[in-house]
Symmetry: C2
Subunit: 215 residues, 2 copies
């Protein structure tokens, strides 16, 4: 993320596009697309309406940009969290831990996942939003699937383990955590859900290990 501060013609911007987009995301995250007005946005982004329009287009295209930006960030984050050479059961727990942290962190209370919390509502009547939501779900599945495949190749899972099925389940845990956070469940409840899910995914193997250790 190098700042390429080329000498631009004309009056310089008084806002940072990245910061402004992040603040727009915050605003939409709390209120949803329809529930957040341009006055809200302009206030929270610290830029007046005409500048906002010049920079991001109309409300919908601003919203789509926040969605795509969020999606790209999370995609990278998940990939890096699942990468590395830790056993998947360990990496998975750590990943959920970080996700829970993010889902609980909001200025006005827990807000879960941005896509689950706001894009899902808009998805029915807005095809562009639906497409982003669809791709984000697919990408999450795929990230988990490749992680489970790799883990299986490393012998961390049984021969009968189905990476695709386990990945769908791992995604389901993310989705349920997003919803539970937004519904107001406390951190301990979210952690319990994530923990028991991971235990279940690896239960077969862990039991086999235990049998071998103390026969």
């Amino acid at each position: 993320m190098v700042q390429k501060e080329e000498a631009r013609l004309g009056r310089p911007r008084e806002y940072d596009p990245e910061v402004a987009l992040a603040r727009a995301t915050e605003a939409f995250w709390d209120g949803g697309f329809s529930g957040t007005s341009l006055d809200d946005l302009s206030a929270q982004m610290g830029m007046n309406r005409p500048s906002l329009y010049a920079a991001f287009g109309d409300k919908e295209s601003l919203y789509l940009k926040t969605l795509e930006n969020y999606h790209a960030m999370r995609r990278a984050q998940i990939a890096s969290a699942l990468g590395g050479d830790r056993p998947l059961s360990v990496a998975l727990r750590a990943t959920y831990e970080r996700i829970i942290e993010r889902f609980l962190d909001g200025r006005h209370g827990a807000r879960g996942c941005y896509l689950v919390g706001t894009a899902a509502t808009e998805a029915v009547e807005n095809p562009a939003v639906r497409k982003i939501l669809y791709e984000s779900v697919q990408d999450l599945d795929e990230a988990f699937r490749s992680a489970f495949s790799a883990a299986k190749a490393r012998g961390e899972l049984g021969k009968r383990a189905d990476p695709r099925a386990l990945a769908a389940l791992a995604s389901a845990v993310v989705h349920t955590l997003a919803l539970r956070a937004r519904s107001g469940q406390p951190r301990a409840a979210l952690q319990a859900v994530a923990d028991s899910a991971v235990s279940l995914m690896f239960s077969e193997v862990e039991r086999r290990r235990n049998r071998r250790r103390r026969p």
Copy 2:
């Protein structure tokens, strides 16, 4: 649901309150709370604004009534689907089948669960909505938990099986199905998720059975 058509004073209603509430649900389901105007509602409910206000109060209280109504209906439906004397693995598959059917059925495409699709967005800034969402998640967990406990007592699960953990997972499947439906995933994808999840929940037992049958 007996119609108690008492002789009321004054001009008789030209609308059926239950039908009107169902139509309001439909409208909100597609557009969300903020995205659905009173004009939309009054058009779809087939009653003019003053009648709407007299019958259901303002927009928010109408929305809350649709949420509570939906919650009560689904609660009863899940309970009846999980009840009966079928093995839980069978009842669970049937339950998911029915849920998928409902999630895919919308006039303007698949819409998933009404609560997940609309209440989640409003939950951050509206405590009343958050409360209903919270209770609906808890109720679903509890319905599944009691079903898993009963199944365990009937010997359908291993001794180490944790009904609470399995219930959280079963709820997670419902949540992910709601989201996937709304994101546009086809029926086959939803069925695959549900099927493989059920298989995973009962995998331990099924494997043991297989071993016994063909040793």
